[in-house]
């Protein structure tokens, strides 16, 4: 008997037919900057616990917190525990927790404190030695972008970004990736000067969502949608991300950024790219990203931005049984702020597939409800062999991908109203993968953190995509800067009147999501 050969990338225990074998990353540790932030508390730390609970974290995994707090390792563990108890998806198991918590370390320091980074380096060396993380480190920058350059320079100076031979160092950054094209480039060169471009993972958590990945399955695994997914049949596409909350305590971050930079630049343009792109040659990261880049580079703004863009700012109003203040009443917001909390945008895509099909993007805070969806609205049938009265109530067919909440797909089509008369009316057909799908299926952050550990990049946007998105948005922002104040809209509605006017001008209406 000759034992099966083992080599790098050739593992006899990994049979391509063995589809149930879980992907468990090699030994590594994760350094979290911005431990005290909301994102770390609500998403990252719970996701790490959930991964541990599902047995997907590598053995010996270590989590190192870095912040300007006088905490001990135990204090840090307590903070993580609170976050896990409050937000983890899977049940709390003492053994899993105890085991995970053994790998917790905390380093106190400011982002520009060279000594603290030296301590961090020593801590990581200790962890490598004690827990066998083999020098593989992830640096998760869950911090405002203003600090990126300080932190990456410190990582460089302390030698943390190079690591030891045979080990990898990866850096994870969260949006916003700059506030315009120039700042995005600057940010990229800051991070890129220290880390290689394939070690930089930009998180757009929308891309980790099951429904978004399902969009690719819907389009490319089926025969019944793709043939009509083009300008011959599609009238227009609406991509909506509505939030019912205000800016909460994020005034410092939000003011001056606004809805378009916060949401359209990343989430909505990524959703647009996935909806509109051609079929990738394969689902490898490179092929997928090339297609997304191609379609983003074909996105064109209409010439008259005054009639094709809208911005608004929420005013006082009744929302869901509660009287809420306007944007200008929020703590930390100047009365003269011109930051938009609602943005809508019409773009076209200059490709043969989409010629003449407008894509309407809209996002806003304090809208009617929290919903994200992509609606592909079809043209009317060219001829209706019914009486005019029979089809009066018939709208346009639509396929709606519900991204959140209530993930699933809705199809809208005409159906006869039961009864003697011939009358056709719109009905909807819902596919939902079970009401509690979200409880049992992994959260976007789990998927994305696991992908970072495995070094698997398809779900992370590349710098080129970020640049292309800014190219689309920059002229709009420049135009808005000359336009004075955004239109106010009452909280709890669906945005300013001029957004409806924009659609009416094209003979269309916004969907009520």
């Amino acid at each position: 008997m000759i034992p099966t050969a083992v080599a790098q990338g050739q593992n006899p225990l990994r049979d391509p037919q063995d589809k149930r074998l879980p992907r468990i990353a090699g030994p590594c540790s994760l350094v979290l900057f911005g431990v005290t932030g909301d994102l770390a508390h609500n998403k990252i730390m719970p996701a790490i616990y959930d991964l541990a609970n599902r047995g997907l974290l590598p053995p010996g995994f270590s989590l190192v917190g870095f912040a300007r707090r006088g905490w001990t390792h135990a204090d840090f563990a307590k903070i993580v525990r609170e976050s896990v108890r409050a937000h983890a998806r899977t049940p709390f198991h003492q053994e899993v927790w105890r085991n995970l918590a053994e790998g917790f370390r905390f380093v106190e320091g400011a982002f520009d404190d060279a000594d603290a980074f030296d301590v961090l380096r020593e801590t990581l060396q200790e962890v490598d030695k004690e827990r066998g993380t083999s020098g593989n480190h992830i640096f998760y920058l869950s911090i405002p972008p203003a600090f990126f350059s300080t932190v990456t320079q410190q990582l460089d100076r302390s030698g943390l970004s190079q690591g030891i031979e045979g080990a990898w160092q990866r850096v994870v950054i969260e949006k916003p990736f700059g506030h315009d094209l120039d700042s995005a480039r600057e940010l990229n060169s800051t991070v890129g000067s220290v880390f290689a471009s394939d070690s930089i993972f930009r998180i757009d958590h929308y891309l980790g969502k099951e429904t978004v990945q399902n969009l690719l399955a819907l389009r490319f695994a089926n025969q019944m949608f793709e043939p009509i997914w083009n300008a011959n049949y599609v009238d227009h596409v609406q991509i909506t991300m509505a939030e019912d909350i205000g800016i909460g305590g994020r005034a410092g971050y939000y003011d001056g950024i606004g809805a378009a930079r916060d949401v359209i630049q990343n989430h909505l343009l990524q959703l647009l790219a996935l909806t509109a792109m051609e079929k990738p040659v394969s689902f490898q990261a490179h092929d997928l990203r090339s297609e997304k880049e191609k379609v983003l580079s074909a996105v064109r703004l209409p010439e008259d931005l005054a009639t094709s863009t809208v911005r608004g700012q929420y005013a006082r109003g009744w929302q869901g049984g509660e009287h809420v203040g306007g944007y200008l009443d929020e703590e930390g917001i100047q009365e003269t702020s011109t930051t938009e909390t609602y943005a809508a945008l019409k773009v076209e895509i200059d490709t043969r597939r989409w010629a003449g099909v407008p894509f309407y993007l809209r996002t806003g805070k304090r809208l009617g409800k929290r919903v994200t969806e992509i609606a592909v609205v079809f043209k009317r049938a060219p001829h209706l062999p019914f009486d005019q009265t029979a089809t009066e109530e018939l709208g346009q067919n639509a396929i709606v991908i519900r991204v959140q909440p209530d993930e699933g797909v809705t199809m809208r089509f005409g159906s006869k109203v039961p009864g003697n008369a011939m009358e056709v009316r719109d009905v909807t057909m819902d596919f939902g993968y079970g009401s509690s799908f979200t409880e049992s299926s992994p959260e976007a952050y789990e998927r994305l953190i696991l992908d970072v550990m495995l070094g698997d990049p398809p779900l992370f946007p590349r710098h080129e995509e970020v640049e292309l998105a800014w190219r689309i948005l920059d002229p709009v922002e420049a135009f808005w800067a000359t336009q004075g104040r955004p239109d106010p809209y009452p909280a709890g509605g669906w945005g300013p009147e001029c957004a409806d006017v924009m659609m009416r001008r094209d003979g269309r209406t916004w969907r009520k999501p």
């Binding site: 049979d15 990353a25 079970g434």
Partner: protein, 314 residues
Amino acid sequence: MIVDLPGTTTAAVNKYLVKLRHDIGAMTLGRVLTLVIVVDEAGAEAAIEVANDASRQHPCRVIAVISGKKSGASRLDAQIRVGGDAGASEVVVLRLFGALAGHGHSVLVPLLLPDSPVVAWWPREAPLNVSESAIGQMAQRRITDAAEASNPQAEMRRRADSYQPGDTDLAWTRITLWRGLLAAALDQPPYQPVLAADVAGASDSPSADLMAGWLAQALQCPVTRTRTPAGTGMTSVRLTRGSGNIDLLRPDGAVATLSPPGQPVRRISLGRRELAECLADELHRLDPDEVYAQTLTKGLALIDAPARQKESKS
């Protein structure tokens, strides 16, 4: 909501399901498969509960077929559970009496979801040849649980003899994380072939047997199977390479340690997987599991004989 339909027919059950769908609305939308549980009265409630849990990941219609006394007149008692009493699914419990008890498949046919896969699960004793049993023939996937059999070893041999694509056993599902950890360990340098392996586990653990068989088949090296007292589950796997041993040890049934040569010991939680989790895992994929097939039909035979003798001496 629980509705009892004593002394009924499948047509009446079906009618009631449609009526419920109309009355309650969307509850029956989006089911992806029918899960048939073949079980006796004593194990029924526990199995239904597990299926309900699993249905949260894979919305399905759960049909429990419970065979009662074979003497007396044929009778079908049905119970329909929806809403809070049925997880994310609808549950139909069918109790069969008299001659009907031997013809469970006949009451199933009208109740299967149209155009969707059927999965059959025997939580306790399974027929000798599952794929040829009447209910097994209707199912794309047949889930057995050798660990529940009175003689797991013999049960495993029977499964191997009668294997057909689509058969699967929860003893295999239980070692998925172990397998994942071992595969991940071999992903790391030094890249050397495994020269020998040893799997230690309870003498009655079919999971440990499958693990040994899987390693033997994939690595093509001698694999010994050390037997520990019954009821201890799987306790360790050792892979021997030129540079030393990789040891994956789980002495206490909850936390494991992984020790690659020349490197610190790494700890990881590796508890016994919940039954609902295993079942949900099985429902995840409905295509035949080729790796299981090879492990079962070829791998088990490769395990070194000495270990078996060791057992008879001890």
